[in-house]
Subunit: 328 residues, 2 copies
DNA sequence: CTTGGTCATCGAAGCGCTTCGACAGAGCTC
DNA sequence: GAGCTCTGTCGAAGCGCTTCGATGACCAAG
């Protein structure tokens, strides 16, 4: 069936038209009579014709492929990345595009390569950091792109991310709604802030904004001992503390232990809410409510924005995805 | 710098040679004098030239891209998939190839599409099942490919997978070496067997082969209650039981609880070894030794085999990766 | 000195597609 | 019924590369 090397000429011959007519039927760029179009489509189906991607890209200067650069090396939470990749591919296919997978370690040179070789039409850059050398390269290359995350200078770029400030607000509200007056946000470790300033601050602002005057924010390292100590100090300094939001993935388990040690019964006389992946919140006992990074939604939004850019439409420079609180 | 649209003609002009000469310098397919080659390479560097992927693919009938079809939808352990993807991209880049990401839900039609459009030269199919419609499509299309996993009829295909029989042996040996006489393998739930018969049996055979006559294999569902019951029955039926291997990811945590309830102190008077991802074995207390699916190695091997096939070299039809036991 | 053989390079053809301009024929208008 | 404008279709050019055959330069052998 779908023979090797069915060309547009074969389709044209079978339908009794010129190759250009086949092209126009397929692209819809000129009006074609319904009868001709039907015959062409029938020939396409009969022969199992698919345009040669290289030829198409050469002639039309559109590859039909977008690149996705993921930080595969370290750091990011693997399942989240996978969800992201999955969402991006699915959405891209809806637009008849394929997705080329790149790793962040190819860096700016990798971007230059794909741009110059015209192997992709555009690019989605995952996990953008505040000072990211790739961003500068992107500007220079003029390759249409969408970033996940916000670099220091986002001027002229299209960025998508979770609305972390809203996430902070949502967590505060969750605790307040449960009658907690004294609450705290247990923040991330220094390492995280170092890489991506901004997003931690935004959580904190959202949290404080929505919480009462007796809310506090405590930074927190993530090794067991430090968490234990931090929680103990926190409880001592605020004896009325009734709820905390944890924005520090690796610390969540330790926090739960520390609270148990202090005699707090989470879910009853004490409330905890997590900002992080589902797995983290599900692994505790009891399971915790959480606000997660909505990887699929981010990916879909990013792809959709990129498609619009490729079509010459405009898109907002900055898009913030509304956080969702999952109760458990 | 890397201007938009630097062509081979630009490079040729700058180096004072014909375009074909540039091509030959770059591909090494004809001998070129060192002086000329140097001049050409200098021009390439100066102009930031990268060949147009589409043009190259059209002229040479080689896209320089391989597809990787992942089961993004469900089932498989996400982190493992991600490691796999990462390993594949890294290895592919070493061979100057890019990787196109596809999802398994495109099915046979997706394979037909990428084959006919010549967008990729070859394909890596992840998580192949015993009866997999994609395998048939693959045969029909004649697209060079490497499968991860073994379908029912692997004749003429190139397959790579973990050597599950060896994994079973390794686990048995671990327990035997620790002086356990009575040991058991706690197997997977029915659902897993239904999809991919074969690999569970192989673990079992390896286990029994290496273990003493008093070893047993117990199948086990993975909900908490069933695990609890299964473990209890197991301990009753074999009072001398001193170690078990668990080949059932979701059950591991429950097994540990059941053992604790029964008064067994794992790591001291009782031994447990896991066949599964690192995360599963690290999440328990104490952490357990485990044999993991070596995703990166599998990916690298698969890509390497595919490259050889694309170069017309031959590769073994079946490759089994040696399992590694990680002590903790 | 011819002849034959390498070696390094060139020019042209062609890969399969899109796109542009051209052009018949149909349907208007006046 | 002459002059329009539209519509639907065709043919040819050209996208940037690889590859094949040809060619000149040079050298060794006869």
């Amino acid at each position: 069936m779908a023979g090797r090397g069915v060309t547009i000429a074969d389709v044209a011959a079978r339908a009794g038209v010129a190759a250009s007519t086949v092209s126009y039927v397929l692209s819809g760029k000129r009006s074609i009579s319904p009868e001709t179009a039907d015959r062409v489509m029938a020939a396409v189906a009969d022969l199992g014709y698919h345009p040669h991607a290289g030829a198409r890209s050469l002639a039309s200067r559109r590859a039909g492929v977008v690149a996705m650069m993921l930080p595969l090396r370290d750091g990011m939470h693997l399942p989240v990345l996978m969800q992201f990749a999955s969402g991006a591919v699915t959405e891209a296919r809806r637009h008849d595009q394929d997705v080329l997978l790149m790793t962040a370690d190819e860096g700016p040179a990798g971007l230059a390569r794909v741009a110059a070789s015209a192997i992709v039409d555009g690019l989605i850059l995952m996990d953008v950091e505040v000072r990211d050398p790739r961003v500068e390269a992107l500007r220079r290359l003029g390759l249409p792109s969408v970033l996940i995350g916000f670099p220091a200078d986002a001027e002229g770029l299209t960025c998508v991310d979770l609305d972390f400030e809203a996430a902070g607000r949502v967590c505060a509200r969750y605790l307040v709604d449960r009658g907690c007056d004294d609450i705290a946000l247990l923040g991330a470790s220094e390492a995280v802030y170092a890489r991506r300033t901004g997003f931690a601050e935004r959580v904190r602002e959202g949290f404080l904004h929505r919480a009462g005057p007796r809310a506090e924010v405590w930074p927190c390292p993530d090794d067991p001992a430090s968490v234990q100590r931090t929680v103990k100090e926190l409880l001592t300094s605020k004896p009325e503390l009734a709820g905390i939001a944890v924005h520090n993935e690796p610390a969540v388990g330790h926090v739960m232990h520390a609270l148990a040690d202090a005699g707090k019964r989470v879910g009853e006389d004490f409330h905890v809410v997590v900002i992080g992946p589902d797995e983290v919140a599900e692994r505790t006992h009891p399971q915790l409510p959480s606000v997660l990074v909505p990887a699929e939604t981010l990916a879909e939004t990013a792809v959709r924005h990129l498609m619009r850019k490729l079509d010459g439409l405009d898109v907002p420079e900055s898009t913030l995805i509304e956080p969702q609180l999952t109760l458990r």
